[in-house]
């Protein structure tokens, strides 16, 4: 051991791997510091503050920011989520059905709605009354927004549920059936409750995704009391020719999404507890 050379080629003054790492880390700090200095020196701070963080414009956003915009965002997101949850469970059960056509229907639905941009679905919803004369989405603007989010969310939620249902060991169904439960009873009493427990963390993430997608309601041409955060910020920003309201709307999203994301990862960590 003692007479082993320190480097592969002791003759040349090459840096050892740990020395190299030290130097590399030093360079990274220097680059970062240079970038910071450049930003501080060259950014037009007064103009930035004027355009993105103007206090009086921000103040004008209140209280409608919370009483109308955030409230509506939550209505769209929760409504869409409930629809996605129920439809997703149904689709997942169809996807795993013994009856082949049900499986096909579920697969086609899931592939289409996961494959299309959510925006496209919302645009299509605005054309529904044209395509089907006399047809009205129940619930008006809320109904349209919730339908759009629910249609898209259902496809993702179905895949989440499918994974959850498949993760419940086969022995659970066998034990339930051996006690005389029917196939349906076994699913409802034994399999689905376990599957739901397992999918709580990914479902929380899915809710966050829906909450963000609720901004697409903007494209339904909503106004007045139906506006949600993105539309609210956008309208106010146009009115003042100032980006502050969009920043304020963004912050409001983060107030909701960051804690939820944190909750999801907490739940994920706890998931291993259930055998």
């Amino acid at each position: 051991m003692a007479d082993q050379p320190k480097t592969a080629e002791p003759g040349r003054a090459r840096l050892s791997p740990r020395k190299k790492q030290q130097v590399s880390r030093g360079v990274q700090y220097v680059v970062l510091a240079a970038a910071l200095v450049a930003v501080v020196l060259y950014a037009d701070w007064p103009s930035l503050a004027q355009n993105f963080a103007k206090a009086d414009v921000a103040a004008e956003a209140l209280p409608d920011l919370f009483t109308i915009a955030l409230r509506n965002t939550i209505i769209y997101a929760v409504g869409g989520f409930v629809l996605a949850f129920v439809a997703g469970l149904l689709l997942a059960l169809m996807r795993l059905s013994q009856v082949r056509p049900y499986r096909w229907i579920a697969i086609v639905y899931i592939e289409i709605f996961r494959g299309l941009p959510a925006l496209l679905i919302f645009l299509l919803i605005t054309f529904l009354p044209l395509a089907l004369p006399g047809f009205q989405v129940p619930g008006g603007t809320y109904g349209q927004g919730i339908l759009g989010l629910g249609l898209v969310g259902a496809a993702y939620q179905a895949e989440i549920f499918r994974a959850g249902l498949q993760a419940v060991p086969k022995g659970q169904t066998e034990a339930a059936r051996s006690l005389g439960m029917s196939a349906t009873r076994a699913q409802v009493t034994v399999v689905i409750p376990q599957a739901i427990r397992m999918v709580i963390p990914p479902t929380t993430n899915q809710f966050v995704a829906l909450l963000k997608d609720s901004s697409l309601v903007l494209f339904l041409g909503v106004s007045g009391e139906y506006v949600e955060l993105a539309k609210f910020g956008n309208d106010l920003a146009s009115q003042h020719a100032n980006a502050t309201p969009i920043m304020v709307a963004g912050l409001t999203y983060l107030i909701v999404t960051i804690p939820l994301g944190y909750l999801a990862s907490r739940l994920e960590g706890r998931k291993g507890r259930t055998p």
């Binding site: 060991p169 022995g171 066998e174 034990a175 339930a176 059936r177 006690l179 376990q194 259930t274 055998p275």
Partner: protein
């Protein structure tokens, strides 16, 4: 003619091209304890699972208390209510407490009231020696305790016969005894039992009959003293040698 508790006639089961059961004829009479032994892959578990149709036989007939369960017109859920089954992996419902595990099928299947189901559940948990674990979740119990809860769960349905699929194979050695004690007690009470097991001591002491299976057929079927004590077939002898004296 008395009715057999279980009767298998020319039972065949294929998984794809793999022929697991190759024509089994066998009976279990009421009150009998029959142990099925044999090397892994011999079809023992499949045979057991064919009795309550967790596996559908490819060919042949299964009768439980005189009713042909392989008949498509038979209400299999009604038949299964009378057959208790205990699994190697316990298969307790992990989202329910021990008590709820024993109550749920009584309430949902037998339509017993909550109060009645709870009394019966507590009685059975007491009987198998885990009366103090009513409020524990399966994950908080040892394997031996879980398996006894599983036995209580089956017993609470007042079955007329019980199937045991290697009930002690997944247990730590020091926990096997507790489960075997419960099974011995059941046998003494006159429960009809079909047991797939590797516990030769249990088979020898408790069984009325021992069935040795190999390669999907019954090789020997008789009293424990005969099949385990004085096996006639070379296949039985070599299996028993390997099981009883694994070191040699």
């Amino acid at each position: 003619m008395t009715t057999h508790a279980i009767e298998l006639r020319d039972l065949h089961k294929h998984f794809g091209k793999n022929e697991v059961l190759k024509g089994i004829d066998m009976t279990v009479d009421p009150g009998q304890v029959v142990c099925v032994i044999g090397p892994s892959g011999s079809g023992k578990s499949t045979l057991l699972r064919c009795v309550n149709l967790l596996e559908t036989p490819t060919k042949g007939k299964v009768f439980v208390e005189g009713v042909e369960v392989t008949d498509l017109d038979v209400d299999i859920d009604a038949v299964r209510r009378r057959i208790g089954m205990v699994f190697q992996q316990f298969n307790l419902f992990p989202h329910m407490t021990a008590l709820q595990n024993v109550m749920i099928a009584q309430q949902r299947v037998l339509k017993r009231s909550k109060g009645e189901a709870e009394v019966i559940a507590r009685d059975n948990l007491e009987k198998v020696g885990v009366g103090d674990k009513c409020d524990s979740l399966p994950g908080q119990l040892s394997g031996g305790q879980q398996q006894r809860v599983a036995i209580a769960r089956a017993l609470a349905m007042s079955p007329s016969l019980m199937l045991f699929d290697e009930p002690t194979s997944a247990l730590d050695p020091e926990l096997v005894g507790d489960v075997l004690t419960v099974m011995r007690k059941l046998a003494e009470e006159g429960m009809t039992m079909l047991v797939v097991t590797h516990e030769m001591g249990f088979a020898r002491e408790v069984a009325d009959r021992v069935v040795f299976m190999d390669g999907g057929v019954v090789v020997e079927d008789g009293a424990p003293a005969q099949v385990i004590g004085a096996p006639q077939q070379e296949r039985t002898r070599s299996f028993l040698r390997r099981v009883l004296h694994p070191e040699e």
